[in-house]
Subunit: 356 residues, 4 copies
């Protein structure tokens, strides 16, 4: 349960229905001031019960620092941060203790860990575990920003509705800030409304819907990363696929590149100002596993929330009888929505690790 970077390690603590979740962050230098308001703002973007149409579980997601800070400044000791689980309704899970929810971790987890597995709220497989990762990533985002590296993401698609895409050459802080002002994490507010209608319609139908998050990073130096398993894509994809419900990760033109010719896809070089630079950015800012200095562009595809209210077929693993399952609980109809800040946080953790 840890992000095990070269220089940065983030160990995730707790589980969905434990008293708390948390993280231990190791590898940060001493002397870094953490802006608590900025961190709370990021946490709020991920927290349930804040946006219309997201889970009604109410969690303040207040980050408490147990150790590692001295008057708000990193003191050299590992940072232990904790987030209380307040609004836990374990009873919701008692009735379905032996009935795996379709497309959830329940079935393989039960087989893997046996009857002792504590699956309330999804246990250690819950999306709740992304809260401490978001907090750790929020600190990483602040450190990167202090070095001129900015990370931003938006909902690129919900079901059939696409947001405007980032321009791979010019994307930057202006766009990132615009996304935060729309009430919904999109570049085009109109598209955001259409997306919200999609989600509302899914909820209405006791259904859910998938989505895509597009994330960009600007201000990166040239040459982060390395060959083979040290490549930026290997490291970033490992972290992004750690977010529950992710089904695909692509960089630059991504799968679209498979349908292109080299003469279309190649990015020629030219001199701009004092230096050499690629003149287009189909590469999404990465060549040979290394950053090129242009914006890094990554897209992350999310499946629809597996918890839906409609009746579904499942099996009672105790009686070994087929049953009809109706999930009550409180769930997002589109996990991608709250995943926007998580994708930013994960991306920041990986890139900070490479820059330390």
């Amino acid at each position: 349960m840890k992000y095990n970077g070269e220089k940065l390690q983030v160990t995730v603590l707790g589980s969905s229905h434990a008293p708390a979740v948390g993280a231990l962050i190791e590898g940060l230098p001493a002397g870094i001031h953490i802006d608590m308001e900025q961190l709370a703002a990021l946490m709020a973007r991920r927290a349930p019960g804040r946006m219309a149409l997201t889970s009604t579980r109410q969690e303040a997601d207040e980050v408490e620092f147990i150790s590692g800070l001295n008057n708000g400044v990193t003191c050299g000791a590992p940072i232990h941060l904790s987030i209380r689980n307040k609004d836990v309704r374990s009873a919701d899970y008692e009735a379905i203790r032996n009935i795996p929810r379709p497309s959830h971790a329940d079935y393989p987890a039960r087989i893997k860990y046996g009857d002792d597995w504590d699956g309330r709220g999804g246990g250690q497989f819950s999306a709740r575990m992304t809260a401490p990762l978001c907090a750790a990533g929020g600190i990483a985002l602040q450190i990167l920003a202090a070095q001129g590296v900015y990370v931003g993401a938006h909902l690129a698609a919900v079901g059939p509705v696409d947001d405007e895409a980032f321009d791979a050459m010019t994307v930057g802080r202006e766009q990132f800030e615009r996304i935060l002002t729309n009430g919904f994490p999109v570049l085009d507010a109109e598209k955001g409304k259409e997306m919200q209608q999609q989600i509302a319609a899914a909820l209405e139908a006791q259904d859910s819907v998938g989505g895509i998050v597009e994330c960009a990073v600007t201000g990166l130096p040239v040459g982060l990363g390395g060959p083979l398993f040290e490549g930026v894509e290997s490291r970033l994809s490992a972290a992004l696929f750690a977010i529950p419900a992710v089904r695909g990760v692509e960089f630059g033109c991504g799968f679209g590149a498979a349908h292109m010719n080299g003469s279309q896809h190649n990015d020629p070089y030219g001199i701009r100002g004092a230096g050499i630079t690629p003149l287009s950015n189909n590469a999404g800012g990465i060549l040979g596993g290394m950053t090129t200095g242009l914006p890094l562009i990554v897209r992350v595809g999310f499946k629809p929330t597996p918890s839906i209210g409609q009746a579904q077929r499942s099996v009672d693993m105790k009686s070994m009888k087929e049953v009809e399952l109706r999930i009550s609980g409180r769930h997002d109809a589109c996990v991608a929505t709250r995943a926007v800040p998580i994708a930013e946080a994960m991306t920041a953790l990986v890139l900070l690790d490479m820059m330390l």
Copy 2:
């Protein structure tokens, strides 16, 4: 330059124009017999100069075992295997020593490592480095097969031409064997001919074309993998993105899931024979980062070969002048073609590591 698994480590040795490339494989048990003919057959599928329309660089890609085997059987010591680089034409690279080839690793590598970087043939960023990984993966494929786990892949797309897709419920050895009999790695021989026409046309135009590899694994037990960064997708994607030219990785319905509803995408459970099983496989055999027992399905998108004969714009980094570049050398017009066995090998390494 290593695959750093939990129990299996594969360190990659050498570089494109060194006397040899190789691998050190650690973590395999003693007493495993390696079938040298089967290994050679896999290497031949990856080797350049074997298939029509691939690079004319001639490499026997014969695997020599330096240590770790005792009469063809693993003896407990790490396996050191070596593959000679015979047909090296470093002269091809002298003329362009200071001119980064568009969409290659040259530019960021030169910035990262400085003027001392040895970029002949792409140095450590060359696709040549996948030869020893293919050999290591070939051993993994044999060990998995002995346990009833089979891995197979095909070219799912080249430019605009799609092969028939794997059926996520029924895919298995029958399909894997059919792919090997078509002379070209596809399920549908007709589609294979169309793909070859696409590649020939690209070559004719001194251009290149992208493609998609689809890989399936059958016979996996339930519950391999784990939460967050321990998930099958995180581990597999990190290995697959290590293959040069990969731009996207998706599991099951992948990015397609983003456009689906939960009621369509969810895989219900039922009882088949003595046990519980998902009744459909949109998940591609993975839930909560763990295997479900159904076939694992992963798709890997490749960009078009960046080396093309057409004139391209670049910069001489010594004189800092913009120049026109024409790449001679010997290159595949579609890297995805030879990547089919590499994807199998990488997938096998990761899954064997989880099963050890």
Copy 3:
């Protein structure tokens, strides 16, 4: 701050004067029952304020399980355990905030982390951090015992007084249990009394005294470990030197072997019962980095407690003036005493990791 084994990871949380210290244990199988009384008994052996002549800091050292257990049984999720820091007197440290205590971590820590370092109670360098390691190791001890592997330690020396040594051929549970009945962790109760006199005399003189812990493990299978860095000695020594105040680690005859001839030191083989076995155990149960099946014997040398009441010379790092320092606080006069269960715990963690 983590024990990073092959299959077992223990991340240490908190610091000396934080609200709590704790540990996250990853890699244990599900379904293991933890005996809480046995764990508490081990913690009590390490806890301050329990034995005469140890620190008067009063800590219950009660282990609270935040997550990972389901009715006292491991459930597959990582185990998060927490131990409150109750009797914290940070004021003791205010006066000496800028004055490094001789032979403590203060000086290099202050240089390494800068003025933001939080050195109260030694911060992350405090021996308090061994409490959660002791708890984690206590769980490992229980798992090993269930497999017939027993770990025991005693105080082999305090200053000039030596306890009887373990017999490397016959040591076992009988000795381990005897040690626990003496009120002081020795084989020879008379020697224990002499040691306690040494410690009392040192306390009286506002001084401290060093000591040696000898640890033995029985019931290990043959062949744990491996070549070079995978050797049992490499792994065990890395964990034992992590205990604060350790200055030396030796196996079997240890440094004594340097003064022996091969004909004296070599352990011949013979047949006993159905199998081959070494007929003597100068090796301390390890050859070529691997266990031999005979008892593993390791000795750990501890320096005298650096905190002493006598006046010492130091420097005020703020005013950069030489000063006389008198340390009040509450300290053990002989750290080795409470290190006996810690050595057992550390040894158990490493060996369990190798046996998983």
Copy 4:
């Protein structure tokens, strides 16, 4: 088979009777010139057949660079270096294939890996594996020296004869150079002669003798290392115990500290020149797992060479009969002698890793 540092990795290749041994070094920056003569001089100090009274196996131990260097300068790619095994006499080992040599790795290796284990020359457990580590460490020594960090070692003891010890406050390059001029690695040439007599006498008696290597490092910055498992002692001891035949490792006063009082052992602080410094160095340059800026002192105890000519008792593991064993082969009577440069190399690898 790898030194797995934070930033530096050294993977060891080959085995005792393979065509070659070698190393892959990852993590070094590009642009470092390697002085081949200096490297050869270090290798010669370790090589068999060079010093009187060492093994008569003749190995040039010439280091060949397969990849990673460009005109003698690191180019950013991993360094693959290879050392041919020329003087291999596998026949010596045929007769004893089933008879474990006392106090060698043979017995546990045979049990661990089974009958397929290739034990010729000790296989992967041979001291021959230290040749590539010595080469890798030799490069580390050069990089450290360029930063003002010097590493030197001497034979502190052979059997009953002690060399003069390093002075922990004043040791430095002057002593390190003196050691190299004595024909035998000691500070006091007279003591060196006595040691050589001990070794000759042991050889004469078809016996062997143990020894101690003392190693010092000067010029280190303050604050390398960290708490618990990140401590300098944990990292150094793990590397030093990886050297075959090592039985003990101690820092500063080592086990001697166990018999001291705090008032004797503590190192007070004073101001010297512009800065604060410990006024004595019983700590051996390490406090709280971190360097203090004073010389680092570590002592490594070696057992007597297990291969002796005298008759020994063993068992034929095939027939399961007790037998008398006489080892012919060619062996050092005192492994500690050739271990002097190995201890320097290992120490350099670990410290360079911490300084990168």
